[in-house]
Amino acid sequence: MNKSKFLSLAQAFGSDLSRWPEDQRHLAFQALESNPGWHEILNAELALDQELDQYQLNIDVSQLETLILQQTTGKTGTIDKLLAWLIPSGSLLRPALVACIPILVGVIIGSNLDLELDEPYLLTEELQYIQFDNTYTSESQNAGGYN
């Protein structure tokens, strides 16, 4: 390990070699043995590490743990699983798809309804339009057939 690499690692990870990348620690120890003067590089980072180490947390999380467990206990029911699937975090795709279900159901029901619309109930004008449309379609096909 050259001095430049040692310096950049010290500036990134500080004076404590146990915080250095695992694959660099052994090389760093060897480099320090060969170059005792490099301890100055580590010493330059020591003061900051000591200041950072003053910010220690000793928070009792037992109540939070209980609260989380209360929320997770019994969450494996079918309804919970369905809700978890239906409303995933970060994506609205599934709720949107599920929202389409009533529309699809309506289309299916509508297409299967027997409305009993016999011809006598149709308007004459409507029948004429249908006939005209059939004629137009067959003429178009014939015209296409000549090409």
Binding site: Y55, L57, L67, T73
Partner: protein, 184 residues
């Protein structure tokens, strides 16, 4: 972590995936303090950190199927979720800085600090809070959370070299800020 510990954890994860609440409870007990400390240092207060922790572990419980132990360590995965939630929190509360640091520290139980220690800790906390989010996360992961450089780089979605750059900039900024004389 020992090999035995690792196997033990794999079994606990597998049981959690099968809906075993006892296995989940063991993992929660193991990782909650770590994730909570990250969130507190990231957000600056315990109330918001508690919300983040609840979300992290409820997601773990509900979506443990999506965690692949072969691809990442559980600690990395949980930190990743916590980190993303913290970033979301910052986006939603862009104009809100850290809560009253003195009040938060004063509320902390079972900790008797001298006035000087209290001020020093407050100064460090404030200096960290002023770092850009990515630099702050990088520093927290590598200095306080005990994650490896590869784990931290994976969570931040950067190369190991880029992580080193983030860390070096964070430490340089902190050094300058902590050398500044305290106001009044």
């Amino acid at each position: 972590m020992t090999a035995a510990g690792s196997v033990d954890e794999s079994a606990l994860i597998a049981r959690t995936k099968d809906g075993d609440n006892t296995a989940f409870q063991i993992l929660l007990h193991r990782y909650l303090p770590m994730i909570n400390n990250y969130a507190v240092r990231m957000l600056g207060n315990q109330a918001d950190a508690a919300d983040i922790c609840q979300e992290v572990f409820i997601r773990f419980w509900q979506k443990s199927d999506s965690f692949d132990p072969g691809r990442a360590k559980l600690s990395t995965w949980l930190h990743q979720i916590a980190h993303n939630l913290c970033i979301d929190h910052f986006r939603k509360h862009a104009n809100i800085r850290f809560s009253d640091s003195e009040a938060e520290l004063a509320e902390r139980p079972s900790q008797e600090l001298s006035e000087t220690e209290f001020e020093d800790e407050l100064k460090v906390k404030d200096a960290i809070s002023q770092l850009p989010e990515r630099q702050r996360s990088a520093l927290l992961f590598c200095h306080y959370q005990g994650l490896s450089n590869k784990q931290a780089a994976e969570i931040l979605d950067v190369s190991v070299d880029a992580l080193e750059s983030l860390l070096a900039r964070a430490r340089k900024t902190l050094r300058l800020r902590l050398e500044e004389p305290a106001h009044e």
